[in-house]
C-alpha cells in the first residue's frame, strides 16, 4: 500500500462477548503488523496497551453486545469521540449469541440469575450496538469475517486519505 505519511487513528473496544474478534484481530497482526504500524495509529486498544486515550478517533471498532446502561453510556462516549463507528462480530451486529439470555423464560430465571441481575447493573434485555448508537458499518461473523474486515479497513484508509 502506498502511504503519504498520514495515519488512520483508530480505537478497538469490547463490550459483552467472547472477544473472539479481538483474538482474530491479533491473528491478523501476524501478517499485517509492520504494514499497519506505518499507516494506523492505535490510539485506544486495551488488549495491547495500558496508555489509551479516547479523543479524536477516526474510526472506532466496537465488538460485543450491550448488557447495561453503563455499557450504553460507554458506547455513546465512543460515538462522541469517533468520526465513524464499525460494529464488529455477531454480538455487536445482531446481539447474538450474547443476547441468548433474552430468550430465557421468566419461570427459568432462578435465584442465582436474579442475584447477579440485581447486584450488577444489567439491563433486562441485551441489545445490539445500533440499538444504542449510530453505526456506520458492520463486519458480520462469529468471529468477524477477516476478509470483510480488511475491506472495511481499506475503505477507511482511503476515505481519510491515508492510502
Amino acid at each position: 500500500m502506498e502511504n503519504n505519511g498520514k495515519k488512520l487513528v483508530i480505537g478497538w473496544f469490547t463490550l459483552t462477548c467472547s472477544e473472539d474478534s479481538t483474538i482474530l484481530f491479533t491473528e491478523l497482526l501476524n501478517d499485517h503488523f509492520d504494514e499497519w504500524k506505518k499507516i494506523i495509529e492505535f490510539r485506544h486498544i486495551k488488549s495491547l496497551k495500558t496508555k489509551n486515550t479516547l479523543e479524536g478517533l477516526d474510526v472506532a471498532f466496537v465488538e460485543g453486545a450491550v448488557s447495561s446502561d453503563t455499557q450504553a453510556q460507554e458506547a455513546q462516549k465512543i460515538r462522541d469521540n469517533s468520526k465513524y463507528v464499525v460494529a464488529i462480530g455477531e454480538c455487536a451486529c445482531t446481539g447474538m449469541p450474547s443476547a441468548s439470555r433474552n430468550a430465557i423464560k421468566r419461570e427459568d430465571i432462578n435465584e442465582k440469575i436474579e442475584w447477579y441481575m440485581s447486584h450488577f447493573p444489567y439491563n433486562e434485555k441485551v441489545k445490539k450496538l445500533d440499538d444504542v448508537i449510530k453505526v456506520d458499518d458492520m463486519v458480520r461473523g462469529c468471529p468477524m469475517d477477516p476478509k470483510a474486515f480488511s475491506v472495511v479497513m481499506e475503505k477507511y484508509l482511503k476515505l481519510f486519505g491515508v492510502i
Binding site: T14, T16, C17, S18, E19, D20, S21, T22, I23, L24, T26, E27, L29, N30, D31, F33, D34, K37, F42, K46, S47, L48, K49, T50, K51, N52, S67, S68, Q71, P97, S98, S100, R101, A103, I104, D108, N110, K112, I113, Y116, H119, F120, Y122, V126, C142, P143
Partner: protein, 433 residues
C-alpha cells in the same frame, strides 16, 4: 508510604475486563478487591433445551481465545452422558488440534501481553523497528509461532476459533493429509524461535513467591491436556467426574465471577501452566526435556511469574508432540460414532491453556440438555490472584503509585486470567464471603 486508595479501573493486556481497588490505612492494606467486570451471558442456562449435539458449538462461544478447550470439554461431557466411545484416530486428532491451540494461545499471552513488561515498554506497538533489537526479534518470532498454531487448528479442526469439524463422536470432516509435511517442516523450523522465547522468559527475573496447593490433570503415560486424573501438589487425587465435589464455591460480591476453594480445607489453589509444570514436568516430550533442560530446573516453583516460563516450555512440548503425531498419522475415513439418545449425565475435564476446565452435561431421554455446569480456570484462580496482590501490596507500599500499578498489572497478567470465560455460567451451592 502510601495511604488512601489505589484504583486500576481497567486492567489492560488481558482477555476481558477486570479492575482493582486497594484501600491502604496505617501502612497496611485494609481492603483489596480484584473485580472481574465482564457481564455474564448465562450460557449454561441458555443451553438448556438445545439438542446435545448442538451444545459444544454453542458453548465454545464462552471464550474467543480458548474456544477449542470449551468445545472439547463440552464434547467429552456429552459423549460421557451418552456412553459414546470415540476411536483412537479421533483422540489423536483432538490431541493434535489441542497442541495447535496451546501454541497459539500461549504465544498470544506471552508475546503480546507479557513481553512489553519484560522489555519495559507499554505495548508491542512501542517495540523499536530495529532488526538488532531483541524485542523486535521476539515479537516477529511470535508471529511465526502464533500463525503455526493457528494453521495446525485450521488443518485439523477447520478453524482456531469456534472450529466447525469436531462433533460428538468424532469429526464432521477429516483433515487433508497432504498438508501435514509442510506443517512438520514449519514446526521443526520454529523450534529455535520457541527456544529463544524460553530463554527470554527464563531471564525475566520478576519474583512473587506464593504458597498454595497446585492442581492439574495427570496422565501417567504422557504430558496430556485431555486425559487423566486430577492431582494436587499436596497429594490429592480426584477422578474427573468427582471434581465438583472437591470444590467449594465462594461468592465474591464485587466480582461478576465466583471463586473456588477446596471443599475440605477451604484453602485456595492454583491451576494453569505453572501447576502443570510443577506436577507433570517429568512427562514432557523427551526432546523438550533435553533442549529446555536448563530452564526446567526452576520447577517446582512457587514464583507466579514462572507461569510465563511454564507456558513458553509448554509451547515447545506442543511443537514436539505435534511433530511426532503428524509424522506418524495416516488418516482413515470414518464417521462420527452415533447412538440413539439416552438420559444421562457426563463430565468432561480438560486442561485449558489457563488451567483445569470442567464441563458437566445432563441430558434427557430425547437428547435435550436439561442441566449444564462449567468451572473455568480463572474462577479457580480468582482468590489466589487477590491473595497474591494483597501480599505484594503489603510488602511494597514504599514504592510509587505508578510502580505499584505497573507491578499489580504484571502480577495479574502472569496468571493469564480470562474474564470472558469467568462470567458465563452459574453455580449451584453458594457460600457468601
Amino acid at each position: 508510604m502510601h495511604s488512601g486508595n489505589i484504583t486500576i479501573e481497567n486492567i489492560t493486556k488481558i482477555e476481558g475486563s477486570a479492575g482493582l481497588e486497594v484501600t491502604i490505612e496505617n501502612s497496611a492494606v485494609k481492603d483489596l478487591k480484584f473485580m472481574i467486570n465482564d457481564y455474564r451471558r448465562f450460557y449454561t442456562d441458555a443451553v438448556k433445551g438445545r439438542p446435545f449435539v448442538a451444545s459444544p458449538s454453542f458453548l465454545s462461544r464462552i471464550c474467543g481465545t480458548c474456544s477449542v478447550a470449551h468445545l472439547f470439554a463440552s464434547i467429552k461431557a456429552v459423549e460421557k452422558s451418552q456412553g459414546i466411545e470415540v476411536t483412537e484416530q479421533t483422540k489423536t486428532l483432538r490431541r493434535l488440534a489441542y497442541d495447535g491451540l496451546m501454541i497459539r494461545d500461549h504465544a498470544l499471552h506471552l508475546y503480546f501481553f507479557v513481553l512489553p513488561d519484560l522489555l519495559g515498554v507499554d505495548s508491542i506497538l512501542d517495540i523499536p523497528d530495529d532488526h538488532d533489537d531483541l524485542g523486535h526479534t521476539l515479537l516477529h518470532d511470535s508471529f511465526d509461532i502464533k500463525k503455526l498454531g493457528t494453521d495446525i487448528t485450521d488443518v485439523i479442526i477447520g478453524a482456531a476459533i469456534h472450529a466447525p469439524y469436531p462433533t460428538t463422536g468424532g469429526f464432521l470432516k477429516l483433515p487433508d493429509e497432504s498438508k501435514f509435511p509442510d506443517l512438520v517442516k514449519r514446526l521443526e523450523d520454529v523450534r529455535f524461535q520457541v527456544l529463544r522465547g524460553i530463554k527470554a522468559f527464563y531471564e525475566y527475573k520478576a519474583v512473587l513467591d506464593r504458597k498454595s496447593d497446585y492442581l492439574a490433570l495427570r496422565n501417567d503415560a504422557r504430558f496430556d491436556f485431555l486425559e487423566g486424573e486430577l492431582i494436587s501438589s499436596e497429594g490429592k487425587r480426584i477422578p474427573p467426574d468427582k471434581f465438583h465435589n472437591f470444590m467449594e464455591v465462594v461468592v465474591v460480591p464485587y466480582s461478576q465471577s465466583e471463586g473456588y476453594t477446596f471443599s475440605d480445607s477451604h484453602k485456595n489453589y492454583l491451576v494453569g501452566s505453572l501447576a502443570r509444570l510443577n506436577i507433570n514436568r517429568d512427562l514432557l516430550h523427551p526432546r523438550t526435556r533435553v533442549d529446555a533442560g536448563e530452564y526446567l530446573k526452576v520447577f517446582p516453583s512457587t514464583n507466579i511469574y514462572h507461569n510465563n516460563l511454564a507456558q513458553a516450555i509448554e509451547i515447545l512440548h506442543c511443537v514436539d508432540d505435534a511433530i511426532d503425531i503428524l509424522k506418524g498419522l495416516k488418516i482413515v475415513d470414518e464417521k462420527p460414532v452415533r447412538k440413539p439418545p439416552q438420559a444421562g449425565l457426563g463430565v468432561g475435564v480438560v486442561e485449558a491453556p489457563r488451567g483445569t476446565l470442567y464441563h458437566m452435561a445432563k441430558v434427557d431421554e430425547k437428547g435435550m440438555i436439561i442441566g449444564y455446569d462449567v468451572i473455568v480456570p480463572t474462577s479457580q484462580n480468582q482468590i489466589s490472584i487477590e491473595n497474591d496482590l494483597k501480599k505484594y501490596f503489603n510488602e511494597n507500599l514504599d514504592k510509587t503509585e505508578e510502580q505499584l500499578k505497573f507491578d499489580a498489572e504484571s502480577i495479574i497478567r502472569a496468571y493469564d486470567p480470562c474474564m470472558s470465560c469467568a462470567t458465563n455460567f452459574l453455580k449451584i451451592d453458594w457460600i457468601r464471603k
